[in-house]
């Protein structure tokens, strides 16, 4: 084991032990202090990744039991949270949709429809990624659309690392998926994580309610990020006739949707309607809808089990299990409330400063570690801060969930950035430049929406 790897293993363990052995403040319980130690362990392990994140998830799941914070029943119950099954359902749905190749059609149609100017081409790219991320996990979307987009960009003759239009389109695809993934619980694992955490605290967050809260943020952020991209990378003039011809040709060459694909699309639409209507009017659990829908789509897609098995990233489910357990135990041990009280003392109870601090902290963490990991660390803290402020705690949790999804600046911020980067059309410096401004723009959007629209619709 080399020195670097040893450091990656040693630091989380060291932090765990040091915090456990520190003298305990009088107003903090042993369970609270132990959870802070586990939190420090988790944060450093998420950041340094000495082992795959799924393995870290398992360690975080069992650590509270080993240290004596929880009992066996409580430990493993958190993994059985309904949101875990929602996540599994969402992955099966995504795998079934992928068999139809509909992602290609959606991407190219967006480019064809809006491709009247180079600026609108960038918007089209963002919209195609965003729209698909409403119903599919964002990383699954970006990995599907980047090759399609690269084919289009190559056909247009745009030169890697020199064409501003190509830079804006490629970065736009990643950012579009990132922003779009906030829209519904299907967009990213951190969304069901938030729903699961809220449900563990006795708060119900259904599909429609989620969309009512998220949509203004998504729409305004897409617009703001688009403006940022065309400002930083003003697209060069190109012969749009040629690009339109290329895209039209590509659309023509796509195979027609077969009967089975059409049936899957219809079933998907019905499933989305079910997600919106059933929990709202008949109090049906969204995990149940996801699982039933996924079984129907799986049968319709004609996939074999081994094909499906190979398409599901099991690591995220393990990470998820650990993450949700971390959130629940931080809240139940009193650690989150203790931290919230101290934060509020520092901010003198100011709503705006607390709100901004929470968003900034979440943004900072999500830029350097997995979105799901960052959200799992801050969910209980955001929840507790808002409880202490006398505001609805769900608002704190949702702010963390939304800010935690928006990672723009680095390749390590989210796999989507790296996937798009592998096209070779933009550099790390380009991503950083665009990411800094995109972060500022989306922080402003979240603050604005939370402060005005959420107040208007009675969230607080």
């Amino acid at each position: 084991m080399d020195g670097k790897r040893l450091f990656k293993f040693a630091l989380p363990v060291l932090l765990l032990l040091v915090i456990l052995l520190l003298p305990r403040p009088a107003d903090l319980s042993y369970e609270g202090q132990a959870m802070f130690a586990i939190l420090a362990f988790a944060a450093s392990a998420f950041l340094l990744q000495p082992v795959p994140l799924g393995v870290t998830g398992i360690v975080i799941l069992v650590l509270p039991l080993i240290i004596g914070v929880t009992d066996v029943k409580e430990t493993f119950e958190s993994f059985g949270n309904s949101a875990v099954f929602f996540l599994i359902g969402a992955f099966i749905i995504a795998a079934a949709i992928e068999t139809t190749d509909i992602h290609k059609k959606v991407s190219l149609h967006f480019l064809r429809i809006v491709g009247r100017s180079t600026r609108l081409l960038v918007l089209g790219t963002m919209l195609s990624g965003a729209t698909l991320s409403f119903i599919l996990p964002q990383h699954g979307v970006i990995v599907l659309i980047v090759p399609v987009l690269m084919f289009t960009i190559v056909s247009m003759g745009l030169v890697p690392l020199r064409s501003n239009l190509a830079k804006a389109m490629m970065i736009g695809a990643a950012y579009g998926c990132t922003v779009g993934s906030l829209a519904t619980p299907l967009g990213g694992a951190r969304n069901p994580l938030t729903i699961g955490f809220l449900s563990s605290q006795g708060i119900k967050m259904d599909f429609l309610r989620w969309m009512i809260l998220s949509m203004p943020i998504v729409i305004l952020s897409l617009f703001a990020v688009w403006v940022v991209l065309i400002m930083i990378f003003p697209p060069e003039r190109i012969d749009l006739k040629m690009s339109k011809r290329t895209i039209r040709q590509e659309v023509k060459e796509l195979p027609r949707l077969g009967r089975r694909s059409w049936l899957i699309v219809v079933a998907l639409v019905l499933l989305i309607v079910a997600f919106i209507m059933l929990p709202t009017f008949w109090d049906v659990e969204i995990a149940l809808i996801a699982l039933v829908g996924s079984i129907i789509l799986f049968i319709m897609s004609g996939m074999r089990w081994d094909e499906l098995e190979a398409k599901i990233p099991w690591g995220i489910i393990l990470l998820y299990g650990g993450a949700i357990s971390l959130g629940i135990h931080l809240a139940n041990s009193g650690a989150a409330v203790w931290l919230a009280e101290n934060i509020l003392e520092a901010t003198h109870g100011s709503i705006l400063i607390s709100l901004a601090l929470l968003i900034l902290l979440t943004k900072l963490l999500t830029e350097i570690m997995s979105n799901t990991a960052a959200v799992s660390i801050l969910l209980p803290i955001g929840f507790a801060v808002f409880t202490e402020l006398g505001l609805p705690p769900e608002m704190g949790a949702m702010l963390v969930a939304f800010s935690g999804g928006l990672a723009f600046m680095f390749l390590i911020s989210t796999p989507g950035n790296l996937i798009s980067f592998s096209s070779g059309y933009f550099s790390q410096k380009d991503l950083f430049k665009a990411g800094v401004l995109a972060n500022l723009a989306t922080i402003a959007v979240i603050l604005l929406v939370a402060y005005t629209y959420w107040k208007m619709i009675g969230v607080w």
Partner: protein
Amino acid sequence: MFRKVLVTVPMEHFPEKALKTAGELSRRTDAKVYLSYIIEDNVFNEVSEQADHVLSDREMERFHERMVHQHRKMARKVLLPEAERVMEVKARGLSVLTGLFSDAVQKEVTDRKMDLIIMEYDTYNLLNYRIMDRSPVPVWIARGGGRIGKIGLFCSNLAPNERSPEVALNLRKVFKARLKTYYINDPKGKMDEKEPRELARSHRFKWTETAEDKVDSFIYSKARSEDFDLIVIGRISKRGYFHLRSRFAKRTDCSVLMIH
């Protein structure tokens, strides 16, 4: 001097200066320019590592296959014409390589018997530049626009100095450039008073300056104060030399030709 010149085009960096340098060299000599586009494994390894928990292995494999296919197409359809436009000369060939940057380039140089590598150095990417250390042929790290008006030759008691004077003198003729020559006796090596005299006599030139100093700090300060367009240095055998070479590439504003 250099008949077959390889310009490396990594997927993370468009080497405009390297291409201009190769074009200039090709127009002034009979050098034939070959291009190698490297689809860097490090990038896709990094993708696999980062996306490990959100994408399945099957998804990653399919993505990798699709992207390599698109990169190959892009290299032939877009990159080659653009590179030729920048160089203002026709390339003799374009090879699309996959693998780690340094390994792929080293294999290409050996297989196709190249005489010189022209490349750029950029700290903000995922490439490793072991090729600077391992290359069996000279490596030219390009800075500036390809015009060479002033050349600095640096020989020392830490380098064999077999080829560098000859290369520098040839480049002076080719580019009709001014040449300044330095011999440095580094305290880390054995003092050598005979070699500078013999080098000057056999290659028929006079040293601009002979000095006793640390070879790296001497080269940095001269490169800065003399405002060279190109410095020619030999294979200096000093501990930590790989880092020294990376530092030359990073810290000097002029092009660096490392003679191996």
